[in-house]
Symmetry: C4
Subunit: 222 residues, 4 copies
């Protein structure tokens, strides 16, 4: 590896390790489930969580580096069992720098029913730009999950897809943005679940959705 790639890998090992703590902080994962990855800028590489390792033990050194077909390049542990799906996303969505997978309970409940989350909250318009779509049922073991993610996200502004009977995947320009989308997804999945338990909220008008999305994507933050 070139020196700047080596430095980027070292930096991203720490970033990816730290971001896993957001998954436990917001209770998006249990035990060893769930994973965050980051694309290594300037290289066909990614940094990802190892398979089946406790969240208490996710130090930067435990992270693993693979190429964009999921083959181990650096690290002592086997990569996440979801590595193929992450790799597929990086190969087919060059604008994406981070991928997150969880089984967060409210988002997964929508995924189990195969029901998109309707755009009934300003927060959904802001972050997801419309309803949050459902992806196909796909078995682990080949490119089916990755292909399902990419095909669903291409038809939407949403950085989140609800994979049927499975759980959510989120993407972002970097790993932090993908984690943010995972956190916001569970939050809106929960609030709309609550709203639907006692009625049906009105959808936000599509023009208002467009205005909210444009503003939030461009004007929010520092």
């Amino acid at each position: 590896m070139e020196r700047e790639v080596v430095e980027a890998v070292a930096r991203l090992r720490r970033t990816v390790a730290d971001l896993h703590r957001e998954l436990t902080r917001y209770e998006l994962v249990i035990w060893t489930a769930g994973n965050v990855s980051a694309r290594v800028p300037g290289a066909d590489l990614m940094v990802i969580k190892p398979s089946g390792v406790s969240y208490d033990e996710l130090e930067p050194e435990a992270m693993v580096v693979t190429d964009l077909h999921g083959t181990l390049v650096d690290g002592e542990l086997a990569p996440s069992s979801d590595t193929a799906a992450h790799a597929y996303v990086y190969r087919h969505m060059p604008e994406i720098g981070g991928v997150v997978h969880t089984h967060s309970p409210y988002a997964t409940a929508w995924a189990a029913r195969g029901e998109p989350i309707p755009c009934v909250l300003t927060m959904i318009a802001d972050e997801f730009g419309g309803e949050i779509p459902v992806g196909p049922f796909a078995l682990i073991g080949d490119d089916s999950i990755g292909r399902g993610i990419v095909e669903t996200l291409r038809g939407s502004r949403s950085p989140a897809v609800l994979m049927r009977n499975h759980g959510p995947f989120t993407v972002g320009r970097d790993a932090r943005a993908a984690v943010k989308a995972a956190v916001m997804l569970e939050d809106v999945a929960r609030t709309v679940h609550f709203a639907h338990q006692l009625g049906r909220p009105d959808a936000i008008d599509p023009d208002a959705v467009d205005r909210l999305y444009a503003r939030y994507q461009n004007a929010y933050g520092q």
Copy 2:
């Protein structure tokens, strides 16, 4: 700024920073969403959270000071994207010294359905003096949200308003009282949600509501 205003600003930077911890303690906010502000006594100024900054980084120095039209007066960061709504409340409700905005999930579910929370608990009578009202759907970017808050609160004893498809705003004589209202709002929004899932509780008699409200507002605490 006069010396006493400078001192008040310094004190309120700490108060407002600290009060944001109550929002995370009670899980009223995620990521960087939500905000607390305080009016500066004796000046047309407010202290408010910066936009898009993590709750782990909300030290007093990070808070920003604006005038009551939301223009930055002091601080290194851009103010909250909800600053215009806070400022409108301070301009039009001189008795109000603190404003809080969250997307707390149960309150936001009532807001999504546009359904007021009925006064079926003594705690609602105590703190809110009756049902908790719904405000209009309003887009961010001008005075619509602030106007919706003020017009709704003027018709009610409640320090909380459920802004439709958006989430709650609460007010108080100071920032701590507004945060207390936000915490109690989510608690009663949740309990009444649970109650409604399996039936419909009886409303408390209006005379009893008045007696509970009068006692709690005057006799509770030290």
Copy 3:
């Protein structure tokens, strides 16, 4: 006060202060709501939480001592606004040494509907000996709440009563037992709520309830 009463008061100030931490640990209370008290053995006195004080500030010295009519005997703060209800219980139930009041959300949802919690779990049979009863709607300010608690508990083996439109009170031979009942109440209120959301569980046969109750009350623990 005699020396042994002084010592008992000192010990109970610490016990009662510490037990309040169980209320926050199990999320039975928010802000300053909820309270624990203990009868002082050998004296017509009780130790209780002060009114409107934050759970972060509940040190032993902050606890207050009143007689069994709620009149302050020792302490610098005003006693809990629920003192009259605690005092009524101690005056009329000599076997009771501890009282707890919370607005824990699932128990309060049953209370809001005025619906007893049916005995459909072995844990309910163990601790409550049958269904958990509902007490009347009663206003704060005189003996109405205390009388409602005592009259309801006298007709039941349950150490918990769901005061209508208000919330639960629990009792025990000492303050720790009353806190344990409050924790177990919220747990079973929640589980039966979940069970009822998707159907109706069978009640446990009354003979089995009696056997479970007898065993748990006599054989459990050290």
Copy 4:
């Protein structure tokens, strides 16, 4: 005891004590309810939690050792009131090295209704290999609970059984695997509960369940 058994007991006292912290971390238990045990390799012994002791006090020395009929062999405290059920499992399922019992709320709600959890999530197929079965209503005090657990688990690939009107028991090749099953059980019990509140998800095709189960049992982790 032979030296290697003494060493195994010392090691398992620590393991079992530590694993109880996972029960509180994931909020599967309250107060002193719930228990973990481990079979001692090479001896007809088990290490189990004492009865009625707080989770704050579960140090290795507090754990107790019994034979496989529940008779105390080593330790200063009385063993868990559920010891007979654990012992029965170890006597009749020689491949099992760990047993866990909780009253985790969502799993217990399914148990209260006597309704198996359908296999509608890939995580259920992975860990449980199909629907999660219901065991009979059984009273504590003889072998009824143990027999109900063993008879139900023998007809299933699931390491978890929902004992009717009571709560879940889980098993594993060791105590850690049984705790993992208890954590995953509550997670899927919750997610499927949420899914069923707003509809009915499609079951996963049995062939896909078999493939997911085979892969997860053989290829996941390090």
